[in-house]
Every structure is written in structure tokens, then in C-alpha cells.
């Protein structure tokens, strides 16, 4: 019952949209496809759905050649980021649509539809027209329609990105609960997102994609703690992980030839040489004994402040708790939590992670 993609290539223009993708999806599991905008997430989902045909490669589902089956015969469901529903039908008719198309027994349809409506919390809205609903409600209708289909593959393309913050949090929790339902029914749940935080919260298997290529797959914890390379480290963190050129020499860790630390104990066994040094924004902190940095930009987000800083050639972003105001060019003193340093080879591959055993 698994879904297998092999060597999928999709190159409609000069650039690759999907560059040699090989993936395996097991039933009953949740997968998050994490990547930046235009990295190929939507293209991948559409290829699985059948809306796009790859130039080469194979897709197998339940042992059958999926590519030979047209869209309308594959048992998939898809929820878009723009709330897509049938505008000329009301809520109930929208959810019924795929079931009627399948010519299901009307009694069974009634049951499935009311089940789905119940699950997404839209009881009482059956007769409403789509245009009368709010964004969150419309997206729930789309979700209900997908659930009612009891599709074997459920694809969601950044479904919450057009909703406000609070709603997003709430619906994300509901997704997870609904998923437990599909776990039981052995469906494959694929959720595309640009937000690493969202990927972490969903806590499924993560597939990191960039420029049409798969960079890493693994559990959420694994991908987050041990990014396969510097690119993955950028994508899986928001703000992106700070990366600076550095070297280990003479028992010291030196960044950009200007900032020096005594080599911490966890890095003692590392050979000398040039590295790409990575550290998360949250692992920098204000410290009067620290190094002198100047503020370039100060951003406030939620209950945190992001400081974009530079010290001569070294640039980094630091996350400061609380909402504080900083002036441009103001001087602050920053220190690094050396126990959380990542080392990447100059080519980008992970050399050392603070979480590896």
C-alpha cells in the first residue's frame, strides 16, 4: 500500500522543477515536505495527484503503475492554499460532490458527509453558500471534502498559509487529530510547508526539498538536530541558521579571522582546518562579556526580537526574548553558546552536530 516515486524528472522550461526525485511513502504516516517558495513542493504534490506528468521516472502505488492512471481515477485528495471550493454549490453539496461522482449509495453519502462536517466542526453550516463563509470556514469545507472521500493519499499544499495566526495554530492541532483518524485508515498524509516551525509541530517525517532536489529525509527530530548540509540547516530554521566561515587552529575556533573563542570541549576532537560554522539565532545571547556587534535591523515578531547584526565581516541574526527596541547602528554585546555549534565542511556537508552521539 505504499507510494513509491523513482527518478522523477520534470523540466518544463530551462530549469528543473523536479530533479531526480526518489521517495517512498508508507501508509498510515504523516509526511511534511519542507522547502522554500518555488522549491518544487507544489509541483511534487501535483505530480503525485496526476495534474502534472513527469518527463521521466516512475510512480508506483499499491504495486500498480500510477502514471498510467489519469487524475480522476487515482484515489487522491488535495487541499490548496487558496481556499478552493465549488462556488456554485453550498457546503453540503461541495462535500458530497466527489462521493456522488463515484456513484456511492445515497444513504452512505449522507453518513459520510455528516461525519466529515462533524469532524471539521461545521455542523449547522450545511445549507450555507461558500461565499458567505470566512476563510477558515472555507478551508474547513475543502478539508471536509477531502476527508469524506476517504482517499488513500491526502495532499495538502500549505493549507493554512492564508489564514491568520491564531486560526493557523488551532487548525494545525485539528489536522493532527484528524490524521490519527487516517492513521487508522492507512492513508498517506502529505503536507507541504515553508515554515520549519509548522513542520516541527506536525512532527511527522520531514522531506527537505530545494530547487527540485531532495536534500534530506528523516524524522522531524533527526532533520532538525542533524541537518545533512548547510542548505538544509538554512531551510529548517527560521530565522535561518547563521553560517560563517571559520577555522579551527591552535586550539581556537576563529570566525572570519576576527572573532576568537577558546575551543570548547565538545569540539576538541575536531581536526584543524577551514569549516563553515553554524549556530542558531536562538543560541546567541546578550552578554556584557561578549563580542561587540552593531545592529543593522531590529525586527519584532510575536514575543521575540530578531536582531540582524554585524561585526566587521561577521554577520549573524540573534533571537532575543521579549519585545525590546533597538536603534540602527546601536552597539550590543553578543556571545555564542558554543555547545550548540555546528561544523560543516566547506562544501556544505555536515561534519559535526552537537546532537550526534
Amino acid at each position: 500500500m505504499s507510494l513509491n516515486l523513482g527518478n522523477i524528472i520534470f523540466k518544463p522550461t530551462e530549469q528543473y522543477h523536479l530533479n531526480d526525485i526518489t521517495l517512498n511513502f508508507e501508509p498510515g504516516k504523516m509526511y511534511t515536505i519542507l522547502g522554500r517558495t518555488l522549491s518544487g513542493k507544489t509541483t511534487l504534490l501535483k505530480t503525485i495527484a496526476g495534474l502534472l506528468s513527469p518527463d521521466s521516472g516512475y510512480i508506483q502505488f499499491e504495486g500498480k503503475d500510477f502514471l498510467a492512471i489519469p487524475v480522476w481515477q487515482r484515489n487522491v485528495a488535495m487541499v490548496y492554499q487558496q481556499f478552493i471550493n465549488y462556488p456554485h454549490l453550498n457546503v453540503k453539496q461541495n462535500i458530497e460532490f466527489p462521493l456522488k461522482q463515484r456513484k456511492m449509495d445515497p444513504n452512505l453519502i449522507e453518513k459520510e458527509v455528516s461525519d466529515a462536517i462533524q469532524k471539521v466542526g461545521l455542523k449547522g453550516f450545511e445549507e450555507r453558500k461558500i461565499q458567505e463563509l470566512s476563510g477558515g470556514q472555507q478551508q474547513r469545507v475543502a478539508l471536509a471534502r477531502s476527508l469524506a472521500k476517504k482517499a488513500k493519499i491526502l495532499l495538502l499544499d500549505e493549507p493554512l498559509v492564508n489564514l491568520d495566526y491564531k486560526l493557523r495554530e488551532g487548525l494545525r492541532e485539528e489536522f493532527k487529530k484528524l490524521f490519527i483518524g487516517s492513521e487508522a485508515s492507512q492513508s498517506i498524509f502529505v503536507y507541504a510547508s515553508t515554515d520549519p516551525l509548522e513542520a516541527m509541530q506536525l512532527n511527522g517525517d520531514i522531506i527537505v526539498i530545494d530547487e527540485g532536489k531532495i536534500l534530506q529525509t528523516g524524522s522531524a527530530k533527526d532533520v532538525f538536530e542533524n541537518p545533512a548540509n548547510a542548505k538544509v540547516a538554512e531551510i529548517t530554521n527560521d530565522p535561518a541558521m547563521n553560517l560563517n566561515k571559520g577555522k579551527i587552529d591552535n586550539n581556537k575556533l576563529i570566525l572570519n579571522n576576527e572573532i576568537q573563542f577558546n575551543l570548547p570541549s565538545n569540539l576538541q576532537s575536531m581536526p584543524s582546518g577551514d569549516y563553515l560554522v553554524g549556530i542558531r539565532a536562538t543560541d546567541l545571547y546578550l552578554d556584557d562579556q561578549g563580542f561587540d556587534f552593531q545592529v543593522d535591523i531590529s525586527e519584532i515578531s510575536g514575543s521575540e526580537t530578531f536582531l540582524h547584526l554585524h561585526h566587521q565581516d561577521t554577520k549573524c541574526v540573534a533571537t532575543i526574548e521579549g519585545v525590546k527596541s533597538y536603534e540602527v547602528d546601536e552597539h550590543v554585546k553578543i556571545n555564542f553558546d558554543l555547545s550548540k555549534i555546528y561544523l560543516f565542511k566547506e562544501s556544505g556537508e555536515l561534519h559535526y552536530s552537537p546532537y550526534q552521539n
Binding site: W72, I84, Q101
Partner: protein
């Protein structure tokens, strides 16, 4: 200077309104005249300047055998031809427009935009260019002077309009709705008929209105391609424009033929205000 602007505005609007109404008023007045009233010099107001008669009007409904002109036959012919041709044009045009909006075509160097241009370029052809070949074409098929032949020709005139309006319209219906229908189990035809079409009614109405208008007002093709069996309204009326021009019945006939589309004008205005037309026309 808002006050001055308002004054100018009303002045211009009223001036233009008079210009618009002028020929109608003249026609109405003339339709009630007879030979003497017309040839004696220009006259305007009935009863004051001339004796009104209903000659001009009554003669319209008398069949030719009784010395009348009878426009009822041509009237219905016009309606039949216009509506049938519009219907077929919209049906076929919408299908083609949908294909041009949703799919990519490539046959050598010919692409979507070229095909759309081909459709629309039919409007560039002056009737006279097509008239002679169509004349021969229809006579080969034995369809000269027939309703079917004329409908065939009108389809060439009207389908481009339908395609032009519907392509634009479909481009503004999100493709994702089609995709969702496919995912929900519809093959492309079902997706079109069950989902896209019900949401395209405003566009089709606009296309319909334009087709009807441009079909109804045609003169040239009807003139060249029909003679006695089939007569369309505009032809009939112009035929009256002979040397002994009966101004009165001419005016009456003109007013009668123009009346139906005044209703259409109302419909169009309502559509405009509701905002449906604006979207479709962009």
C-alpha cells in the same frame, strides 16, 4: 470649481441626449405623414403642421398582395437566424475558448495565442471580401437564399466574438477549480460541464448579448445572399429605399425593427450596474 464642472456635465449630457433622440423623433413624426406632408417641406408637429395618418403603419402589416409591405415575415426570419447562429456560435465558441484558456497547443510554430488571433481576425474581414466567395460557396451547396445558408455565414461572423469574450472570461476562473473537479473523480468533460460551465453563466450572457446584437444588425450578408424566399428585416427595409421613397412607411418600419433591441439596452445596463459585465469585458 465643482459647480462649473457640474454645469458642463449636465449640459454635455443633455446635448448628447438630444443628438441621440433626434433621428428617432424625426422618424416618429414622419411615420405619421403622407405624401403631401412630406413633399411640401419639412414639417414636425402632427396636427399643427400636418394631418397625421396611420398609413405608414398599417401598410407594414398588409401582405404584398394587398399593396402592403409586410414586415412580419422578415421580422421572424431575423429573429430565427440571429438566435440560432448566436446559440451555435456560443456553444462551439465556448468549447474552443475553454481549450485555448486551459491547454497549451503547439503544432509547429502555431501556439495558443495564434489560434485565438485566428478566431478574432475573422472580424477584420470586411463583408465584401467574404461576400463573393460565400455567394459561390452557398450556391454550390444549394443554400443560397435559405435560412440555413445564412446561419452558416453568421456563425463565421459571431463565433469570433464568443471566443474573444469567453477566453478572457475563462482566464479569470481559477484553474484550481478544474483541478479539484478532476481530483474529485471527474474526467475533463465532466469537469467542464459540471463545474466550470455553471460558473461561467455571466460570461456566456455577455457573449450572448454581443452575438445577438451583432447578428441582428447585419445587413450586407443578408443583402447579398438572400433574395425572395428568405428576407431579413434590414434588407426589406432598405429595399424600400427606392426612387419613390415612401418616407412614412420607411420610418414606421425602421422604428418597429429597432424596438426589440431597446429592450436589450435595458438588459445590458442592468448587467453593467451589477458589475458582471465589467469583469467579463476586461
Amino acid at each position: 470649481m465643482p459647480k462649473l464642472y457640474t454645469f458642463i456635465k449636465y449640459f454635455c449630457v443633455i446635448l448628447w441626449s438630444c443628438f441621440v433622440i433626434a433621428p428617432f423623433l424625426w422618424a416618429i413624426s414622419t411615420s405619421f405623414k403622407d405624401f403631401n406632408s412630406v413633399t411640401g417641406g419639412a414639417t414636425y408637429i402632427p396636427w399643427l403642421q400636418f394631418e397625421p395618418t396611420l398609413d405608414g403603419w398599417s401598410v407594414l402589416f398588409k401582405p404584398g398582395s394587398q399593396g402592403g409591405i409586410n414586415i412580419i415575415g422578415p421580422y421572424f426570419n431575423s429573429i430565427f437566424v440571429t438566435f440560432t447562429a448566436s446559440f451555435i456560435s456560443i456553444a462551439l465558441g465556448t468549447l474552443s475558448a475553454y481549450a485555448l484558456s486551459r491547454y497549451t497547443f503547439k503544432a509547429g510554430f502555431v501556439q495558443n495565442n495564434d489560434i485565438t488571433f485566428f478566431f478574432i481576425s475573422q472580424r477584420i474581414m470586411p463583408p465584401v471580401v467574404l461576400a463573393i466567395p460565400f455567394f459561390l460557396f452557398l450556391s454550390t451547396l444549394g443554400l443560397l437564399d435559405s435560412l440555413a445558408g445564412l446561419i452558416l455565414v453568421y456563425i463565421v461572423l459571431l463565433m469570433p466574438i464568443a471566443v474573444w469574450i469567453m477566453v478572457d472570461f475563462f482566464n479569470r476562473v481559477p484553474k484550481e477549480i478544474d483541478e479539484t473537479a478532476l481530483i474529485d473523480g471527474c474526467n475533463p468533460f465532466q469537469a467542464f460541464f459540471k463545474v466550470v460551465l455553471p460558473n461561467s453563466i455571466p460570461g456566456m450572457i455577455v457573449a450572448g448579448l454581443f452575438c445577438i446584437i451583432f447578428g441582428w444588425i447585419d445587413f450586407f450578408f443578408a443583402f447579398i445572399l438572400t433574395f425572395t424566399n428568405v428576407q431579413l428585416l434590414p434588407v426589406k427595409i432598405v429595399a424600400l429605399n427606392s426612387s419613390i421613397t415612401p418616407w412614412w412607411s420607411l420610418s414606421a418600419a425602421a422604428l418597429v425593427s429597432v424596438a426589440p433591441l431597446i429592450v436589450v439596452a435595458f438588459v445590458v445596463e442592468r448587467f453593467l450596474s451589477k458589475g458582471n459585465l465589467s469583469g467579463a469585458l476586461k
